[in-house]
């Protein structure tokens, strides 16, 4: 048992007050303490990116960040992407372009792309597409993910939903 710390995570606009071990990862805190299981853990080494969430506007591997490091920070997870019951354009685009098969890696890709555009609004389409190589997908062979992202970018930019 290691030390317990009291933290506040602002996740998808909601405050979560947690008492966690200081070694608990943000991924585990989101999944176990906040019951937000849409964030998936694929490797715990920071390689696969399935656990990607957005922390203060930056895409982050939540398996490589301690929950206590995210204290008082604003966090967005896949559960917070849809607004007023309407899917985020990127979510819809993944459905439309068959950008997922088993769906385990999908939340990580969604948060990666939304996060990249949020942190670098000036990034070109090609920059965003290149950033997709940060995460691993074992099912799709990536081409449909690339299509889904490319096709959603204009609407994401236009709506400024990622601002």
């Amino acid at each position: 048992m290691t030390d317990l710390v009291d933290i506040r995570l602002k996740v998808n606009g909601e405050d979560h007050f947690l008492r966690v071990e200081d070694r608990r990862t943000l991924a585990d805190a989101l999944r176990e303490n906040c019951c937000l299981t849409g964030t998936h853990v694929g490797c715990e080494h920071g390689v696969c990116g399935s656990c990607t969430v957005i922390v203060d506007g930056q895409p982050v591997r939540s398996c490589l960040m301690f929950a206590c490091q995210a204290h008082d920070k604003t966090i967005r997870t896949v559960e917070g992407l849809a607004t007023d019951g309407k899917l985020h354009p990127l979510q819809q685009s993944f459905i439309d372009h068959h950008g997922l098969q088993c769906g385990f890696c999908t939340p990580g890709f969604l948060m990666l792309v939304v996060g990249v555009l949020e942190s670098e609004p000036q990034a070109s389409d090609d920059d965003v597409i290149e950033a997709i190589s940060s995460n691993l997908c074992r099912c799709t062979g990536y081409q449909n993910i690339i299509k889904a992202v490319r096709s959603a970018l204009p609407e994401m930019r236009a709506q400024g939903r990622t601002a």
């Binding site: 849409g38 696969c48 992407l81 088993c102 769906g103 385990f104 691993l136 074992r138 062979g141 081409q143």
Partner: protein, 777 residues
């Protein structure tokens, strides 16, 4: 690109690229994967840190809940039997007993109240093993002085199969050889293996939720191992994050987790981490293969002799056993080429390494690579384009009986290759290749042509003489009083989109919209017994059974409609959600028929049984889908790096139920095959320690490694499958090693270099180039 667009105007759901019903929860973070379930206790396995040795002592400090083999009283070992091929059975205790046989083998398990605490506790366990010399490689296993992995298996040969048929040819013009080395792979689903078992004190039942492709088969296996009736165990496959064969094979950890939940009367979870998955989550394709082909003066292949040696690891896994790669190699080696003289010896060798399991494509990426290298070597000898030599040898008339006794149904081996040849424009490429070489750039072109045996039923598995004769699938299709349908299948999809494609088949067969159809799978309590999803079989077999059951349901709806519409049954047509009397405007919505079946029996003349529920079984001989893969690559001769310029798949998987999903399967499969050809490798050191236990070391492809794939389809409407669909889950993975290695060799041939090992990493290619240079000087 889709070259064949049949079946688009028929008004049917089959053939349309409709969006998947699976996707909405998965993009919303509302999928339910096994690790999402909370448990009272978390398990962590203590694993062998050495490849081979005797367990001297295992001990934990007070307060650590440690379970070892000695605690599992009455639990049986995993023990697969095969009545042929000099197969040697072995017993694998769920937790190692007395000896350990591979790094990562589970030796004990600890329980704690959180995952972190369980990891801490496992670290406190003292495990003392006196090491013995391990056998790691094929060469070491074959050494006459090699230590024995299992004392009762001389020479470490666990399966030794031989085949010999057909006359030794006399008019041989050329004998050509090829040999290939395929290094060890891992299926690496992005979700590692997970299990959650919960014991219900009132019913005495245990519910095991786990990452499986075969919930019914796992239930049978685990109940047998634990010595409990199957009724006391429910197995659920919730959303499963890919499997590729790894999750069709029973991990010894799963029965242990079920046992722990029963023993402690609580819920227990095991969440495998990535290191465990790469170290002990089953491997594949660790083989050396060689072949000699005898050709006549026209380049016609007359006879083949081959030798296959597969490193199958330390134990024989459930359900396919460690014979699966050697035996499939032996039986399916002849592939798409016409010859009737064949000799082959195929051996499986036990080593102190992780056991193998079928991985997408199973054996065929190896044997297709071997055969395709033979053809390219031979083409060089004959001075022919590789595709011309294939043209002279591909099977053209069907059904064709292979030398090993397989019946190939109608297929398009030549046609798909000609499509690839046309797409490449070989003369233009050869010109470009020469021009590029003048600029110091090395381009190469390679193909692989192959078939994939899919959707095979009981006879095929019976021929393998396996302990479990798999094959059939059954499906229950029920319509409720509101006109909605459930199709309950024994197959267990985990990314393939079967909830959508089976709904399309059922929709056409009943005459309603697929959005009224729910495909239920992955729960032994709510689905009929079935074998699961593997071997490119589910759409063919479960899809076929769905078609049959839905057809029966439609017949009953027609009988009801005939009563209510006062017409002859033969005049009723059900389409678009309504029953119509042909040639009239009299019709009734299907909902009304459904109501009547349950609630208004007296109106139906007393001859109709209540309810709307039908069951069907489908058990086909099997079919063969086929494809030609073609690759153009550039090899950087300074670094050995390979860039794929074009990748073409021309394939025939019969009727495309959902073209969008078909292309998705092909793209995903091809990228796994490219990974096999160029990137991924599980590496052991001399002591049997695994060096590649993170994804950064194992090197799965990223989006930057994955080319756009040009896909073309033919749709041979085979009678071998009642939906005319041939399976295609694995085909994408089978073709790339052959096509890419041939392309690499085509690129570097002018330098006198040759490479016959995968993955063809920059280091290996660089070595091959260096050797060629040294030889030349």
């Amino acid at each position: 690109m889709s070259l064949d667009t049949t079946n688009k105007d028929s008004g049917s759901w089959v053939g349309r690229p409709i969006k998947r019903f699976e996707d909405l929860p998965l993009v919303s973070g509302k999928g339910t994967f096994t690790a999402d379930l909370k448990a009272n206790l978390y398990a962590r396995f203590v694993r062998s840190p050495v490849a081979s040795g005797k367990i001297e002592r295992i001990q934990a400090p007070e307060g650590v809940k440690l379970i070892t083999a000695a605690d599992l009283v009455g639990v049986k070992p995993i023990h697969l039997v095969l009545q042929n091929y000099n197969y040697m059975p072995v017993e694998q205790p769920l937790l190692a007993k007395d000896v350990v046989r591979f790094v990562g083998e589970p030796v004990a398990v600890v329980l704690a109240e959180s995952m972190e605490a369980a990891e801490d506790a496992a670290d406190l366990v003292e495990l003392e093993v006196s090491e013995t010399t391990p056998v790691v490689t094929i060469r070491a296993a074959l050494d006459p002085d090699a230590p024995l992995v299992h004392d009762h298996i001389p020479g470490n040969v666990v399966v030794d199969a031989q085949f010999s048929s057909g006359p030794v040819p006399e008019n041989v013009y050329k004998r050509v050889r090829a040999q290939v080395r395929t290094n060890r792979e891992a299926a690496m689903p992005i979700e590692p293996r997970q299990a959650h078992a919960s014991f219900d004190r009132i019913s005495g039942r245990t519910t095991l939720t786990c990452t499986t492709q075969s919930p019914h088969l796992f239930r049978t296996a685990i109940a047998d191992l634990l010595g409990i009736p199957e009724a006391k165990l429910r197995v659920i496959a919730p959303d499963v994050g890919g499997g590729f064969g790894q999750k069709a094979t029973l991990p010894p950890e799963f029965p242990v987790i079920a046992w722990l939940a029963r023993h402690f009367g609580t819920s227990v979870a095991w969440n495998e981490d990535r290191r465990e998955n790469l170290m002990s989550g089953f491997h594949a394709r660790d083989a050396e293969l060689s072949i000699e082909g005898s050709f006549d003066a026209n380049g016609k292949l007359l006879a083949v002799e081959a030798d296959v040696r597969v490193n199958v690891g330390a134990y024989s896994s459930f359900p396919t056993s460690y014979a699966v790669e050697p035996l499939m190699s032996l039986n399916e080696m002849p592939g798409v080429y016409d010859f009737q003289s064949y000799r082959c010896r195929s051996r499986g060798l036990a080593t102190h390494t992780c056991p193998m399991a079928p991985y997408r494509g199973v054996a065929r990426p190896m044997i297709v690579l071997l055969m395709e290298r033979l053809f390219d070597n031979a083409a060089k000898e004959f001075g022919l384009e590789p595709t011309e030599l294939r043209r002279r040898n591909l099977i053209r008339t069907f059904p064709y009986k292979s030398v090993t006794g397989l019946t190939f149904d109608e297929a398009t081996y030549v046609e798909t290759m000609e499509m690839a040849v046309a797409a490449i424009d070989i003369p233009a490429f050869r010109q470009k290749q020469i021009e590029a070489r003048e600029q110091g750039r090395y381009l190469g072109f390679g193909v692989s042509t192959f078939s994939e045996r899919t959707g095979f039923g009981t006879p095929a598995f019976a021929a393998r003489k396996m302990q479990f004769t798999m094959g059939w699938e059954q499906v229950e299709v029920s319509m409720d009083p509101s006109g909605y349908v459930e199709a309950r299948i024994g197959a267990s999809p985990h990314g393939q989109g079967l909830r959508t494609t089976i709904a399309q088949i059922v929709a056409d067969e009943i005459g309603i919209s697929p959005d009224k159809i729910t495909v239920v799978h992955g729960d032994t309590d709510t689905t009929p017994y079935g074998w699961g999803t593997f071997a490119s079989r589910s759409l063919v077999i479960a899809g076929g059974a769905s078609k049959l059951a839905a057809g029966k349901l439609q017949l009953k709806l027609k009988r009801i409609a005939a009563h209510l519409l006062e017409a002859a049954e033969i005049d009723i047509v059900i389409k678009g959600g309504a029953a119509v009397v042909s040639g009239t405007d009299r019709s009734l919505p299907v909902e009304t028929l459904a109501r009547a079946a349950y609630h208004r029996l007296p109106q139906l003349g007393g001859s109709i049984e209540p309810g709307l529920s039908e069951k069907a079984i489908y058990d086909p001989y099997g079919t063969f889908s086929n494809a030609c893969h073609a690759a153009i690559v550039e090899v950087d001769i300074q670094t050995g790096k390979v860039t794929i310029e074009r990748y073409i798949v021309m394939e025939d998987a019969g009727r495309l139920i959902n073209p969008m999903i078909v292309d998705g399967q092909i793209q995903g499969g091809v990228v796994q095959g490219i990974a096999n050809a160029l990137l991924e490798e599980i590496i052991y050191d001399d002591t049997g320690n695994v060096l590649t236990t993170t994804l950064a070391d194992f090197l799965p492809p990223t989006s930057l490694d994955a080319p756009a794939i040009e896909i073309g389809h033919l749709e041979t409407l085979t009678p071998a499958s009642i939906t005319h669909a041939k399976g295609l889950g694995e085909g994408g993975t089978i073709g790339p090693p052959g096509a890419i290695l041939n392309a690499i060799n085509d690129a570097i041939a002018s330098l006198g270099a040759q490479i016959d090992e995968i993955p063809a990493t920059p280091r290996r290619i660089y070595q091959a180039l260096k050797q060629a240079k040294a030889k030349a000087s």
